[in-house]
Symmetry: C2
Subunit: 350 residues, 2 copies
DNA sequence: TTGTACGCGTTATCAG
DNA sequence: CTGATAACGCGTACAA
């Protein structure tokens, strides 16, 4: 390789390592601007501490080199990664994605990035993910739900960073908690149904721990209020239209359900029940009433419009973000757990 | 602060820095296990190079300390972050989330984590995000679409890492590309409609560049085939049921559309059109036919069942992941761009 | 099989 | 306002 002059070397936009990755450092930018590496660092983190003239030279040098700071090195040195990791059961499920979207928007406004993973339903899966997430040295962690493996709790506690559990409430949060009571929701729906005069009820639920808790609370309360046992169909997998249809099928064929109100663990299932009812020629106003959960976009547009439980998912994410952000600034919330509640939205399906 | 003996110090599960974060290092684990830091490193990365006895001691030390490796430091030292960043227009849009979910699943199987952000529609927004993503020194980047700012291209190229653009095809990819042709899709739908005998057509589209290209191709081809101009309604914002309803309203009220087939840029819009048509007492079989795009879960269950264009979103994500993974192993694909195509699914709505 | 020495690219601290 | 210098925690030679 022929020797090259200083000037030629300076013209090269980036110095590539053996793996081909870009390697423009603050050092290089500084050389080009005629200042030291530290000055470049300062110019980026606190421009007011650098003279306008050198600031300009540095700006130019960054421009021509296409310098992109190495956040890894920065985080290592400062132990502030500006990274927050989030764990949700599923990223394709709209109820979680809208929550995490609101969370991410607010965090981003403050300069944080979100490392997102889906855990599925298993706690072991979650535990392993927590470990890899923690290895990125996030400044905080968002978890969905309040049930975590003992080892997971230990790791989280040991990390010494803020943790926010969303989508539920508890008396013993790991740290922060923002959500609503699933037991209260189930009960409220039962009261609503009893008040509306329904004498018998069924449920269709997905294989979700929180959904099951809502269902149990509903069944308990409905029995207490009306003296009538609740017919129940549970699925192991996620909610879907197909499962909703299948749910009504089983309720009728296997549980001898003939008429009454059906509480579904999600709007998607509820929609499926509605579709199946119509396919069977059942009257969704006289024979079968349906209550969903979530108040998703399509809920007002089903036929008939879906009565459901509204949860402000965006508020959940936003509030979780604010709680963490406040914590970063040293402010602690008056109480660690925030109950955002829910609201029964009465439409025509029940 | 009273002095404490060596033993007491060893009992402490973690050494907390001034910011309270956990600080168990390989060094500390090594001390506890009676070996050096490197040995711990080796035990983790390649256990076969460490004797079973010390391996066991190290395992124990890790157990009691709750050690979680610092991936930041590791990445800095090895310039391999095991991190891949992904940019999608929206994380709440199911079409993108299922794609990125499949992508993430496959990457995770190989030990990679995904840093996910949504860019919205603006290219400037995307450019800024690319910079912050690149600052995390990812091993690869996934981008949605083929339109990026010149500066963004420059940064990406300069990073010297694999880049995969999904959801479209092009002759000049930044690097890798996996998708399908939106022009071909629009044309195919027009041919389908013309073949089916529809004499007039309309479109309802969301404010998405690719949706607009599909629409334009559809309108061109439909005009060519039938000699009939296509009535068009475009929205600036994202697809929604509400926009679908509004779309049909405008088509009828403002564009004098009376009957024919309506090509929507997404199934969601198509569903909205169906709902509005029923609300207006129009026959969705005789007067108005509807074609969606995406073949989402609910498409077979709308009334009537939705005719639509199926895109294998999971295959998109999976194929993109495989392309990157192969590249990591030094294998290059025969050609940089992969066209996964699409398929028109004929149901009852058209 | 194990250890020493060094470097990765920043930030923090202290001088000047 | 600017510059040395020392961490930060780990991988990668190279040596023992």
């Amino acid at each position: 390789m022929p020797p090259m002059s200083e000037t030629q070397d300076r013209m090269r936009p980036a110095k590539a390592g053996r793996n081909g990755k870009s390697r423009v450092t603050m050092e290089a930018v500084g050389r080009l601007a005629g200042v030291s590496q530290v000055t470049v660092s300062r110019a980026l983190s606190d421009p007011s501490k650098v003279s306008p003239k050198t600031l300009e030279k540095i700006r130019e040098a960054i421009e021509v080199t296409g310098f992109v700071p190495n956040a890894l090195a920065g985080a290592l040195a400062s132990s502030k990664s500006k990274l927050v990791t989030a764990l949700v059961p599923s990223i394709t499920n709209i109820v979680y994605s809208t929550m995490v979207n609101a969370f991410g928007e607010e965090m981003r406004r403050e300069g944080y990035q979100i490392l997102l993973s889906s855990t599925g339903v298993s706690l072991e899966e979650e535990e392993a993910l927590i470990a890899t997430h923690l290895s990125r040295r996030p400044d905080a962690v968002l978890l969905t739900g309040i049930h975590h493996s003992p080892q997971a709790r230990k790791m989280l506690l040991g990390a010494g960073i803020p943790v926010v559990e969303v989508w539920d409430t508890t008396d013993s949060p790991i740290d922060l908690c923002v959500g609503f009571s699933h037991v209260a929701a189930g009960r409220a729906v039962a009261d609503f149904a009893a008040d509306a005069g329904y004498a018998s009820a069924g449920t269709v639920s997905a294989g979700d721990e929180r959904a099951l808790r809502r269902k149990a609370a509903f069944a308990d309360q409905f029995l207490r209020r009306t003296g009538s046992e609740v017919a129940q169909v549970d699925f192991d997998d996620a909610a879907s239209l197909a499962n909703g249809r299948e749910g009504l099928r089983r309720l009728i064929d296997e549980q001898e359900f003939t008429r009454g109100v059906i509480f579904c663990s999600s709007d998607l299932l509820a929609h499926g029940v509605l579709i199946e009812a119509q396919a069977r020629g059942l009257s969704t106003l006289r024979d079968i009433a349906v209550i969903g959960f979530g108040d998703q976009d399509f809920a007002p547009y089903t036929e008939p419009a879906l009565t459901t439980v509204r949860v402000d998912r965006a508020a959940l994410g936003f509030t979780a973000a604010r709680a963490l952000l406040d914590r970063f600034e040293g402010r602690n919330p008056p109480q660690p757990v925030t109950d955002l509640g829910f609201e029964i939205v009465r439409r025509r399906s029940a």
